[in-house]
Symmetry: C2
Subunit: 429 residues, 2 copies
Amino acid sequence: MNRILMIKLEENIGKQVMIQGWLHKVKNLGKIAFLYVRDRSGIVQCVVNTKEIDIKGMRVESVIQITGEVTSSGSKTEKIEVQVISMQVLNKVNHELPMEVNKENIEASLDVMIHNRVLSFRNKKVASIFKVQECISKSFAEFLRKEGFKEIFTPKIVKEGTEGGTELFEVKYFNEKAYLAQSPQFYKQMMVSSGFERVFEIGHVYRAESHDTKRHINEFISLDLEMGFIKDEYELMELEEKLIEYMINNIKEECMNEVELLQVNLPIIGEEIPKMKLSEAIEILKTQYKKINLEKDIDPEGEKLISEYVKEKYKSDFVFLTHYPQEKRPMYTMPADNGETKSFDLIFRGLEITTGGQRIHNYEILKEKMIEKGLNPENFEGYLSAFKYGMPPHGGLAIGLERITASFLGIENVREATMFTRDKNRLVP
Amino acid sequence: MNRILMIKLEENIGKQVMIQGWLHKVKNLGKIAFLYVRDRSGIVQCVVNTKEIDIKGMRVESVIQITGEVTSSGSKTEKIEVQVISMQVLNKVNHELPMEVNKENIEASLDVMIHNRVLSFRNKKVASIFKVQECISKSFAEFLRKEGFKEIFTPKIVKEGTEGGTELFEVKYFNEKAYLAQSPQFYKQMMVSSGFERVFEIGHVYRAESHDTKRHINEFISLDLEMGFIKDEYELMELEEKLIEYMINNIKEECMNEVELLQVNLPIIGEEIPKMKLSEAIEILKTQYKKINLEKDIDPEGEKLISEYVKEKYKSDFVFLTHYPQEKRPMYTMPADNGETKSFDLIFRGLEITTGGQRIHNYEILKEKMIEKGLNPENFEGYLSAFKYGMPPHGGLAIGLERITASFLGIENVREATMFTRDKNRLVP
């Protein structure tokens, strides 16, 4: 007999079926017992005659197979149940569970949850986070394909970091010293120049930042795009607004159960995502919020306050901050007037979730900017040479997948939205 | 005026348009000149009055913008052309090109092509390889999502390799020694146990193999899947056959221009993919092909001969070789009788493109097998603990993206199907 998923049982009332899954919970009433069995699609209540089938010593989370008949249930909460004919244990749990996963919320510290990652995923709320995450990454690819973007896969072992030598993990590459890529920045720009014009990558990036905060991890998934033949950075912001809208609509269509379970207020774009120069934002913070010590950048608290201001005034959870000063941006950023740049951040409810902008496409200017930033152009030969042979005007942006998932879902610590965390203290599991 | 793609010009005969792209070729006839301009969608012939517009010193591959009128062309080869009204150079090429990309075939060594990767991608044949590659990876994800699989992202910085200490790239991870993942093997198994049951990952894997062959690179993209609640390894082979069929159909639907340009004979499955025990294959090689020195494995030449045999007998370009001996397979492989295993390789026209099989799901047996293979279970705690708390019977497989692309397209050196090669001699670009 073939296995049937829990979600299909209702169509099979009166029939004999075979189900497989994890023993979620046991209620032993003496002569009969209720076994709750869970698979990837749901949970079903199974009724066992304990005289015929021995359930002594069965621990929850054991993997079992049940053959039985689907019947309508008398109970108010369950539509159907399975009358067990036979049961087989496929893999028995012989060890004490380090935490209970069959409650609504796991009652364990985040650290214990992360350490026992496989178990914590079995909790419905935890799994829901990653259902939404998959919807976000899938929507990213889907939307961009419709817009003519091609998916690329670029190397993560690199000779030079995008920003020079800081915050890089070192790799022993045969007899050479190499690093793990901080971002696919150089390669996505090169792929614009390769004639692909519009490219995206969903891939791992690495930051050897040694500070340990709730919003940083050392290995994460970056949703990257780069686009040729743009007029300016506003074209990128327009694209991103449509992308974010597409993501939110897909979450509404595919993940409403998860959103309800997690009690999430979905992001609101409003009429459109407001755009504000960084200098204006700083002015508002100074005059209306009495923030001092802000010069050419705003701190996390400033980002929160500006988000509140924008929410109040424009009814949007998002705001594009634009025109970051040159000294705060990498060498490849397209300069604008007055020491500013054609770059932007997207702030969502007080947290930066995107950095983007137009890039320099002229070989000579790029080389100059490298030198200005104290970098040696000779070390960037593979990248620079792409600018010698016809690089179109272009720009792009990057979104951290774990961070956008966490912030859309109102999760404070990005580790909760990370499948397997890599931070200063965690290399296992 | 908004940019229009070359592919849309035919719909705009008689209208004024703006196009942007690379200067593909110039034919200067004196009073008039033909400029061929290329964008991601195609090439168009533009007619320039050289008295009005100066094209002196224009090098091919410069990025240009042209405003002009679309007209029907008198020529036999081109349906339309653009009568140039004005031209603007967006980014001029000032350097000698290291190779010509506007010929049918690039006349340069593979090494020069790889070194000047951005330029070589602009050649239509080279770009076609990656159009097919994207179709393969997209089909992998699409097919598996339809079958209930979820996409996962697992860490590439790991504490232990899947096979123990060999062929690993070392990473300095803060104060610890870590490695780059050789495969997502452990994590995809853990994600089966997490309740996801069916998972796939498209991600980078790393092999520090120091031999330099046409079929090996040191960083590549692995198409990985893992599936819970299987009966045996035959269920995986059945799934893979459907997957391969899905890929080939998508290539036929989406990439026929590329397939024709590359003059490819698309893979033929035949009635079904034949399955043969490795021991049978060895017997055939011994008796029918007089191969000697084969004991428990076959070499690349043997794989070629068996493919010829199968093609002749079953009209299939594919063959599953099954039941590899335990000493040739990793510790997590499910044992079968007589020292064999429930594992398989998929061979396509003489080259192995997949390795897969059922895995051990019992904690105690897995621990024993680790010890048998000389590994210390204590080093695999994060992985092993997933087996303590209800791991279902499961199995999976992996396909190298670059290798399957190359072999489907009849490309001998896998580097031609690799966006940016990482091998013993190449860390740039």
